[in-house]
């Protein structure tokens, strides 16, 4: 995935907004064949509803890694951290902020 798809973001809100824009935009465009809805919000279940599938998850992880500048450890590939945009933001953006502050 190109780094340009993961813009530099400076706040939690900006990260969540960029993530939603990425899912609704480039990710849907690439893997959206089976998708019924093209809009999501921060609490939309990403996996149970098929928003993200086995093709999209690689791009999703790459986006989060690029945007936060940190690799995602395998132990964090878990629904507790990936179920919704809100959970991803909490697990990866807020965690990054906590580590860098």
């Amino acid at each position: 995935m190109s780094d340009s798809l993961a813009p530099r973001v400076e706040s939690r809100e900006a990260f969540a907004a960029a993530l939603i824009a990425f899912i609704e935009g480039p990710l849907f465009a690439r893997h959206g064949a089976s998708r019924s809805s093209t809009t999501i919000d921060s609490s939309t279940p990403l996996f149970e509803t098929g928003v993200i599938d086995s093709l999209g998850i690689i791009d999703l992880l790459a986006f989060v890694e690029t945007a936060t500048g940190r690799p995602i450890p395998m132990r964090k590939v878990d629904m507790r951290f990936f179920g919704t945009v809100d959970r991803i933001t909490r697990a990866f953006w807020e965690d990054r902020e906590a580590r860098t502050s």
């Binding site: 086995s54 093709l55 878990d78």
Partner: protein
């Protein structure tokens, strides 16, 4: 023989085999308590079945075929393979059938996977596995998964194998399947009961397949929907190798 000849599985004397049989008896009893029907399947499995299950596509690097020496098959592949797992026989057996209610099948079988190295009780080319295969409606499968997990943990714990459940993924061949592996881990469709004393070696696994095999083998519930499946796999060689002390008769 000097004892260093290449081996695909450990050579066992009578009491060692008896210990493995007793471990299997514990797991078989667990299966019986769940209402499982005991089956016996062959070590060979038709390539067609594995193709239908997409095994040849997902794990070609592990597959061993039963080819005829000096005979060239028309398309270069053998019609028979050495079975890499027990549960594929169950799906083939029930293909094009309607499963009227929840169904549980159990079988012990010899399985074969190509491994570069042989380490007894850890990584074997030939090994024995007891599987418990569940077929039914999604809600029943989900509820059964948790019960099965606890039951396996109890049986293993009684044998001194106190492990930990971890989310895991299958060793897919193609890098393009990395997404499938991540999804398996994320959705916890494959849980392994790992033995920390052997570096997290998987002693058993609970694998939820959703409707995949129901669709692939045209096995349906009375409402016409593809049946959901799950299998619980217990690596008997690994249990026998790592179970401390004598394994009591159940």
């Amino acid at each position: 023989m000097n004892g260093t000849y290449p081996q695909a599985a450990p050579t066992r004397c009578g009491f060692e085999q008896a210990a493995l049989d007793r471990i299997d008896a514990h797991v078989r009893d667990l299966a019986a308590s769940m209402g499982a029907r005991e089956m016996q399947y062959s070590a060979l499995i038709a390539r067609d079945v594995l193709e239908q299950a997409e095994y040849t596509q997902a794990f070609p690097h592990l597959l061993l075929s039963a080819s005829r020496p000096y005979m060239h098959e028309p398309d270069g592949t053998a019609a028979w393979c050495l079975s890499p797992a027990v549960c594929y026989h169950t799906y083939a057996q029930l293909a094009h059938r309607t499963v009227e209610g929840p169904m549980i099948v159990t079988a012990r079988g010899r399985c074969f996977r190509f491994e570069a190295e042989f380490a007894p009780g850890v990584r074997q080319i030939e090994f024995e596995m007891r599987e418990i295969v569940l077929l039914g409606a999604p809600a029943w499968i989900e509820a059964s998964a948790e019960r099965a997990r606890l039951a396996i943990e109890t049986v293993a714990g009684n044998l001194g194998l106190c492990g930990e459940w971890e989310a895991a993924e299958d060793p897919f061949f193609l890098p393009a399947a990395a997404g499938k592996a991540l999804m398996q881990r994320l959705l916890k469709v494959k849980l392994e009961y790992q033995w920390p004393k052997a570096g997290g070696l998987a002693l058993a696994s609970v694998n939820r397949h959703g409707a995949f095999f129901g669709q692939r083998f045209h096995i349906v519930t009375p409402d016409g929907n593809p049946v959901h499946t799950m299998c619980i796999a217990v690596g008997l060689d690994r249990w026998a190798h790592h179970a401390p002390g004598k394994v009591a008769t159940p």
